[in-house]
């Protein structure tokens, strides 16, 4: 067994000079008819992530901050292997469980149970692994009466609760959580925050994306700050959060988001 300090020296996520630019179509709904009737298809080039490098060590909780459109979600998708980078290299050690902006529930016609099982199978877990964790997921999400109901009938809070429950229950080596701290009602939020804190105190690698600076300061050890695709700052959580808060204050005279847990 490695001691805690030795574990921390191992790199869990290594992001090296990663960039991603993509073309976003300007059409509301891309169609063949539209393509044929217009001379050229409009695109906007979006430089989502520009030459970003950082490392997350094993057992570290890393907070990710930045305004809307800063490239946070794109970066999380790349770490999760959903979007391959265009340039650079990402190395991830361990099984990643992703909770990106309310993950499960891809097919609203299927029941909660079916969505959970299919989501797990797609993520590469076996049916046995899913069934072993199933009750725990349902219990945490407090959706016992809704698991056999098509997810069409779920409220957005219920969606979020189920997604959060799946991600934190699967005991991944690396947990990526994207703006999921604010799902459900106040009580469930408290509960997920407590769960997060439990997970953070374990020797587990976690990447949290949140607009709540208070939550990041509370949970994370280190933080990165993204701005329009650039890595602006990277370091100890207090310093980065303070710098970011100051930046927000300068820019919009509004630090209310700091108290937003």
């Amino acid at each position: 067994m490695l001691s805690a300090s030795e574990t921390r020296t191992q790199t869990a996520i290594k992001v090296e000079n990663v960039s991603l630019t993509y073309k976003a179509p300007l059409e509301r709904r891309p169609t063949l008819k539209g393509r044929l009737s217009r001379k050229e298809a409009g695109f906007r080039l979006i430089e989502a992530v520009k030459n970003v490098s950082f490392e997350v060590h094993k057992g570290t909780v890393m907070g990710v901050m930045g305004a809307n459109g800063a490239g946070k979600s794109t970066l999380m998708r790349m770490i999760s292997g959903i979007l391959p980078p265009q340039e650079g290299r990402i190395e991830v050690l361990g099984r990643v469980s992703t909770l990106l902006a309310l993950g499960v529930g891809f097919n609203r016609d299927l029941t909660g149970r079916e969505n959970v099982v299919l989501g797990g199978l797609a993520a590469g877990l076996s049916r046995e692994q899913m069934l072993a964790k199933y009750d725990e997921i349902v219990e945490f999400a407090e959706l016992e009466d809704f698991m056999d109901v098509p997810m069409r009938a779920y409220s957005s809070g219920m969606y979020g609760r189920l997604g959060f429950a799946v991600a934190v229950t699967m005991e991944p080596d690396i947990l990526v959580i994207d703006e999921a701290l604010s799902v459900g009602d106040a009580r469930f939020r408290r509960k997920s925050f407590d769960k997060m804190r439990d997970l953070c105190t374990e020797e587990r690698t976690i990447v949290i994306v949140s607009h709540s600076l208070g939550a990041i300061k509370d949970l994370a050890d280190e933080a990165i700050w993204l701005d329009k695709g650039d890595l602006k700052m990277c370091g100890q959580v207090d310093e980065v959060v303070d710098a970011y808060a100051e930046f927000l204050g300068v820019e919009q005279e509004d630090a209310t988001s700091k108290e937003d847990v």
């Binding site: 650079g88 990402i90 199978l121 049916r127 080596d173 370091g235």
Partner: protein
């Protein structure tokens, strides 16, 4: 803005030069007191019990194929579960659902039989035309159903495509699997008709298996192709039914090869991917002889060609899906 980073860099343990492989990371390196070289060694030793993923830019637009297909195979249970769940959502697991599964193609065969009967004014040159029609309709609807449903899979995958890392080829392939599971019971129905009509039964019928496999490969290839295309042209599913209907009329389903041979239209069989396998199926099952090797060769050729085009097109576009949905 730049000054913030510079400020960061000038503080902290820049002295740990070896740690600074990634420039902006030096502060983290300071926190971990041991040297990174040690960390690297420990990681290598750890590789036996952890999964290691490396994500790099795709070369020539394709993901690394070996690991792609290894991941795909690892998730075969997903395809099966997805197919079953989809059928359950359509209530195909209930008695009436199953009945409908059998009744639907039979009714279609009935409709087309009457249609052809009217067009021919009751004169059927061909013996066992009805059996031919039923068999070919079943096979055709297997392929076209898989393509039609497959087209929607990627766009319909929504959040799963956005938020989960998995080989997306599983989506159209699970829809092919679903239609294969729906096709099997119709084969039993055909079997009953076959025996009732007194058509020959023998070991030669085993050749149906490779023909069904080739039809499946053709269906899979086209299904992968249209499901990727659907991401870029969302109105494709509106055109698709017309194209598939046209395809039905151009395939040896409502007519037989001997009828078009008289008019010198035999080429229609070869330029149609499902032409050769459907002709072979009719030769084998209805007429009871082993079809010409050229029919098998052409079927296999189409299957390989469409399978390659479909999967390569899909995989080369796959990276794009998450930002297009």
């Amino acid at each position: 803005m730049q000054s913030v980073i510079e400020g960061e860099r000038s503080t902290g343990a820049v002295a740990q030069g070896s740690a600074g492989r990634t420039a902006s990371l030096r502060r983290i390196a300071t926190e971990t007191s041991t040297t990174p070289a040690h960390g690297l060694k420990a990681r290598r030793e750890d590789e036996f019990n952890t999964e290691r993923h490396v994500y790099e830019p795709h070369k020539v637009g394709l993901p690394p194929l070996r690991s792609y297909f290894r991941e795909l195979w690892k998730r075969r249970e997903f395809a099966y579960e997805m197919a079953r769940t989809d059928m359950r959502a359509q209530h195909l697991d209930t008695t009436f659902g199953r009945l409908w599964l059998l009744l639907n193609p039979l009714l279609l065969a009935g409709v087309y039989f009457i249609l052809v009967d009217i067009l021919r004014r009751g004169k059927h040159v061909q013996p066992h035309y009805l059996e031919h029609l039923v068999l070919e309709i079943f096979a055709y609807y297997y392929v076209s159903g898989a393509i039609r449903a497959g087209a929607r899979t990627v766009v319909g995958g929504g959040k799963l495509v956005l938020n989960t890392a998995f080989p997306r080829l599983l989506l159209p392939l699970s829809s092919v699997l679903e239609h294969f599971l729906r096709f099997l019971p119709t084969l039993v129905i055909y079997g009953i008709i076959h025996v009732a009509a007194g058509l020959p039964v023998g070991p030669h019928l085993l050749l149906v298996i490779p023909l069904v496999i080739l039809l499946t490969a053709i269906a899979a290839g086209l299904s992968m192709f249209v499901s990727a295309l659907q991401v870029y042209f969302r109105d494709l599913t509106q055109f698709l039914p017309y194209m598939l209907r046209l395809w039905l009329y151009l395939s040896p389903v409502l007519w037989t090869v001997s009828q078009i041979d008289k008019r010198g239209l035999h080429f229609l069989v070869w330029i149609n991917p499902i032409g050769p396998p459907l002709v072979a199926l009719s030769d084998l099952v209805i007429d009871g002889y082993v079809p010409a090797a050229s029919l098998f060769a052409a079927s296999a050729g189409w299957a390989v060609l469409l399978g390659l085009i479909g999967s390569i097109f899909f995989m080369s576009r796959e990276r794009d899906f998450a930002v297009r949905l």
